[in-house]
């Protein structure tokens, strides 16, 4: 039997096989299926059509429902979608539903999943959202699927997958103080292109990666889809296990790479050699060094989403915004209600983040959700409705992603976005951080 990568080993275990190799089509058993308000209703209607009006999901403990996309809007269709989720959850008696307008409401699913203990090393997680790959940070196989595949899982608890080959990216040395995980992943996508990892797994390794917090590892895995990747993964270590054990009592079995596992490719970066980068309009692989585009005039800055709306992202932004004023409209959208609470409890030099943002003149969202990362209904907080130029901590900048087709979006790290908000022009965070 040949040696296997972490991804291959997890898939083999879930297919009941001793060994699998890249390119094989296998049926795997699913540990968690996650859905939200945009794709849940479609999934539910296919499930009922295929398995019957009175069919029950294969395992109610394994279905997680997190409304997060179109929450704070007047759009009646959007509200109807949440109603459909409610009705289904009631009928199926699903225990993991984080309903809008209740104490349990969370916000962005990819951040809510780990907060609620649904991401565990060694497991297989599918979700009806492309950024489900975020959960690979916890040493599991996690990827996005459509409504049809999700409906099949609801019925039988299995899905076919083609085993992906693994591309390995190693970061040697801990990150210099002005770099964040967002810079690393934008660097990789710039190198390999928006289809550079299509059908492949991306594994992040090296002491640079293992020195990162769970939230920063999530940022790395989150944007794997922007290179076309099937899943992103970081092998679990003590940081992972401590985090997961603090969130859930469920047992899990961490999986590690075989020492002589075969990789599709291995690329090594020295963290010290890298610089802050942006992805210019209109593609996440359109990389430039921040200093190459420094001075570009901006209309707006946006800090939020599953990619850049975690507490780490706001802590980083606050370090730059503390005691300063923003020159352009700056939108702060916490990913989850827990992150929102964190804005009041986390401090930078004795001042809480909320106060720092308020004094800086930023606009703070009243609710946690996906908001303008994907445009959404016209009344969405922070949506680009005209030809604005925006710098954002989000994941995608294809035409029209944040609203208007004529808007221009630069993707960057929270440091770079905050530094740019202060000057109103694209600004290298090294001007503020040593």
């Amino acid at each position: 039997m040949g040696a296997m990568t972490l991804t291959e080993k997890i898939l083999a275990r879930h297919a009941g096989r001793a060994h699998v190799g890249p390119g094989e089509n296998i049926w795997v058993n699913v540990d968690v299926l996650m859905t939200h308000d945009v794709c849940g209703p479609g999934t539910i209607s296919i499930f009922k059509k295929q398995f019957g009006e009175r069919a029950k999901v294969w395992d109610r403990e394994k279905v997680v429902v997190i409304p997060d996309h179109y929450i704070f809007t007047q759009d009646t269709h959007a509200h109807r979608n949440v109603d459909i989720l409610r009705e289904f959850v009631r009928e199926q008696e699903l225990p993991y539903f984080y309903d809008v307008g209740t104490e349990r409401y969370k916000g962005v699913c990819h951040i809510a999943l780990p907060e609620e203990g649904h991401t565990r090393p060694g497991e297989v997680l599918f979700g009806t959202d492309s950024h489900t790959c975020t959960a690979g940070a916890f040493g599991e196989f996690a990827t996005g699927i459509g409504n049809t595949d999700a409906a099949l899982i609801m019925g039988i608890g299995k899905l076919w997958v083609k085993v992906p080959p693994t591309m390995k990216f190693v970061f040697e040395g801990s990150l210099p103080p002005y770099l964040m995980a967002k810079d690393l992943i934008l660097w990789i996508i710039g190198d390999i292109g928006v289809d550079g990892a299509t059908y492949k797994a991306i594994e992040f390794a090296g002491d640079g990666v293992y020195s990162l917090s769970m939230e920063e590892r999530m940022t790395l895995c989150n944007m794997v889809i922007e290179a076309g990747g099937k899943n992103g993964v970081v092998a679990p270590d003590q940081v992972t296990e401590e985090f997961v054990r603090s969130k859930t009592r469920r047992p899990f079995e961490p999986v590690h790479n075989d020492p002589d596992a075969k990789y599709d490719s291995v690329k090594v970066y020295r963290s010290q050699d890298l610089e802050p980068v942006v992805a210019k309009p209109h593609s996440p692989d359109n990389r430039a060094l921040v200093r190459e585009v420094a001075g570009t005039a901006l209309d707006r800055a946006y800090i939020g989403s599953c990619t850049g709306g975690k507490l780490t992202d706001f802590r980083a932004s606050a370090r730059i915004l503390k005691g300063r004023q923003v020159k352009i409209d700056t939108f702060i959208v916490p990913a989850t209600t827990e992150v929102m609470k964190g804005l009041s409890t986390e401090t930078v030099d004795g001042e809480n983040l909320l106060s720092i943002f308020q004094k800086a003149g930023a606009r703070i969202s009243e609710g946690a959700s996906c908001a303008a990362c994907l445009g959404g209904p016209a009344d969405t907080f922070g949506r680009l409705n005209r030809s604005e130029v925006c710098i954002s901590t989000t994941s995608r900048n294809f035409p029209g992603r944040m609203g208007s087709r004529t808007a221009q979006v630069y993707l960057a790290s929270p440091y770079t976005v905050a530094a740019s908000a202060v000057t109103g022009r694209i600004t290298d965070p090294r001007e503020f951080i040593g």
Partner: protein, 187 residues
């Protein structure tokens, strides 16, 4: 699956993402209501910048304003067609608009899976960049079994990549029928 797919080509560029195929604000319509479902046809490809819609000329809509069906049957794209989000609405909206086949140099994998597992249309892979060879409005014919594409407008013919493993799912109709055949769903 049909043996032949014939119809007019609608040509687009590389990296057409799901927000261009169906902008996020439209994802709220019901897919199970037969009337409301038509709105996905109406707004299919409405997120693509005007200059890049219907190449090489541009400014050609897939679906005319106010209509739900397109006169075009075959979408011709470049690299990484369908990248971005996992929204199955992107695959379905093309089917609802009347697309029967997409021919692209390559696909993003979630979109490709959605097309195949939902049985919405046939996703062919070209062996060369065809979106610079074919113009919007050209009359095309795909021989599904032979894997060839004929441009009836200029009599040029091209080979397509074999459909491979997915042909079993496409022949079954969708992933549910395929799973039934495999004994994974009780009939």
């Amino acid at each position: 699956m049909k043996d032949f797919i014939r119809g007019m080509a609608y040509v687009v560029g590389d990296n057409i993402d799901t927000d261009q195929i169906i902008p996020a604000r439209h994802l709220v319509y019901s897919l199970s209501d037969p009337e409301e479902r038509k709105l996905y046809g109406r707004y299919a490809m409405s997120g693509i910048p005007d200059g890049l819609s219907g190449l090489p000329k541009g400014n050609i809509r897939l679906v005319e304003e106010g209509k739900d069906r397109s006169p075009y049957k075959i979408m011709v794209g470049g690299k990484n067609f369908g990248c971005g989000s996992s929204r199955e609405h992107a695959a379905v909206c093309l089917q609802i608009a009347g697309i029967e086949a997409v021919v692209a140099e390559s696909y993003a994998r979630i979109f490709y899976r959605n097309v195949v597992d939902g049985g919405f249309f046939v996703p062919f892979e070209a062996t060369m960049p065809l979106n610079t060879e074919i113009a919007t409005g050209d009359e095309l014919e795909i021989n599904v079994n032979l894997g060839t594409l004929k441009n009836l407008t200029n009599r040029k013919q091209y080979g397509l990549k074999p459909l491979g493993d997915i042909i079993e799912i496409l022949r079954a109709g969708d992933v549910f029928e395929y799973a039934r055949k495999k004994g994974l769903i009780k009939r």
